[in-house]
């Protein structure tokens, strides 16, 4: 199992690597590493429970990467926190990192590397992550990403009205993508 290297057509110079873990047992350790600003932790750690679809995850990563590549001002201190922030429909950064980032009880995590200086190297990232994250790596695809969605959490975090049909994953994905796109303008 390894990370997925992903290239947006517009930004071939800035590939990202995306990984997915389940049964993670050291999330509190990961969170501490992030808080301490440890350079080994230069990854976006996203609680997979918030991810509705591959489209949703990529919309957030794309928004962060395109802002950086278009020379726009970042709202957070680096691209990793910016990606987590871009998952959020709200402008409150602390709140966004808390809700969409990793918490002590997180067991499934999406990990994104979007550091262009790092020259995203799948093997390197895969090895580095295997030593950081204690858990089982899965391949990154739509089906696996949807396995961990917590619909109640999504409903609350994205303020989706109760009248919405949550069974229709495709429509739910469009709604959260809309929220991701519209935040903060």
């Amino acid at each position: 199992m390894s990370s997925l290297e992903y290239v947006f057509p517009q930004y071939p110079q800035a590939p990202v690597s995306i990984s997915l873990f389940e049964n993670v047992t050291n999330s509190s350790e990961l969170r501490e590493g992030l808080l301490a600003g440890n350079q080994c932790y230069n990854y976006a750690f996203i609680d997979a429970a918030n991810v509705v679809s591959q489209e949703h995850l990529l919309a957030a990563i794309y928004r962060a990467v395109s802002a950086r590549e278009e020379g726009e001002k970042m709202r957070t201190k680096n691209i990793s926190s910016e990606i987590v922030f871009c998952m959020s429909p709200s402008n409150n950064i602390m709140d966004a990192l808390k809700r969409f980032g990793i918490s002590d009880t997180t067991t499934s995590v999406v990990v994104v590397k979007a550091d262009p200086t790092h020259k995203a190297n799948t093997d390197l990232v895969t090895n580095e992550l295997h030593s950081l994250v204690r858990g089982d790596m899965l391949s990154v695809n739509g089906k696996n990403l949807q396995r961990f969605t917590d619909l109640n959490m999504v409903k609350k975090n994205y303020k989706v009205p109760g009248t919405f049909n949550f069974e229709d994953r495709d429509k739910l994905s469009s709604v959260v993508v809309g929220s991701v796109c519209l935040r903060g303008w």
Binding site: F8, P9, Q10, P12, Q54, E55, L58, A59, I61, Y62, R63, S66, E70, E72, V160, P161, F164, N165, E167, D168, R169, D170, K171, S174, V175, V177, G178, S179, C181, L182, W185
Partner: protein
């Protein structure tokens, strides 16, 4: 001039093939087989739409930047609202209000058409007064009326309802996108209308604004489908009224108000056309 604007759009979307399909005063519309961030399907179908509002050289640059940002966002916000309400409309894929860019899905898909084209095609393919024409046309006109009612019942007005701004497509096969779309067939009994172009849309609870929306559509029907326009207008309005009435007593009160305003608006329209 136009060449230049198209170049600007390309500059914002490096490596993404764009095909210009419409050029209005306000915006250019392109289709693309490439999604800005999803793996593109191998079909190479023009599944995505980019709407680009270029800078307007005749406006003050600061004011122009504000207007572009405001209009791009306002359209995207309305589309998002419609997704939440589950009203068929384009889905937002990406927005960059500063650059005047709005990415959405192509609601027509490979087998959709504008209502304008669809009506023309049916008028060619079926005999006047035939049972076939009546059944297909009526069912869809009623659906279109009901769709506009849904919009209005949620206090959203479109602002530019024409038969080109309503698309018609085969009903989606549930949520599973892997189910093949039925083939191109104007007589398909399972069509659904979809509203596009919310560039002039807004929130309004006023019966007057809703009446104007309908009036604008009626005028569009008269000019694009002159021969049968009276019949089409009747069906559209029937569908509209029926959707309100499904809402019980409250709906009946609201529809009365809109119909009263519609009469007023029509009369004003007639006076104006007699003068001018």
């Amino acid at each position: 001039m136009a060449e230049n604007i198209i170049k600007q759009a390309h500059a914002y979307t490096a490596n993404i093939p764009l095909a210009l399909i419409s050029q209005g005063a306000e915006a250019l519309v392109f289709t693309s087989p490439v999604h800005p961030y999803l793996p593109s399907p191998p079909t190479c179908a023009p599944d995505y739409i980019l709407k680009y509002r270029p800078p307007k050289p005749y406006r003050h640059p600061v004011l122009d930047a504000q207007l572009t940002k405001h209009r791009t966002l306002s359209e995207a916000r309305l589309l998002h609202k419609l997704a939440l309400l589950d009203i068929p409309a384009p889905r937002v894929i990406h927005v960059n209000p500063k650059h005047g860019l709005l990415w959405m899905n192509n609601v027509a898909g490979p087998h959709g058409f504008s209502v304008k084209q669809w009506v023309w095609d049916i008028e060619l393919a079926t005999a006047p007064n035939s049972a076939l024409r009546e059944s297909v046309m009526k069912a869809n006109m009623l659906q279109i009326g009901a769709l506009i009612a849904k919009l209005h019942l949620n206090d959203i007005v479109h602002g530019d309802l024409t038969t080109s701004n309503i698309m018609i497509r085969p009903k989606m096969a549930a949520a599973d996108a892997s189910v093949p779309v039925p083939p191109h067939n104007i007589l398909n009994p399972n069509l659904e209308p979809v509203l596009i172009d919310f560039g002039l849309g807004s929130h309004s609870a006023l019966a007057e604004d809703k009446a104007v929306d309908i009036y604008v559509l009626e005028r569009a029907v008269e000019s694009t489908h002159p021969v049968n326009s009276e019949t089409y207008k009747t069906w559209l309005l029937d569908g509209y009224v029926q959707e309100y009435e499904r809402g019980g007593k409250g709906g009946k009160i609201r529809i009365k108000e809109v119909l009263r305003k519609l009469d007023e608006v029509r009369q004003r329209g007639r006076k104006r056309s007699m003068v001018g």
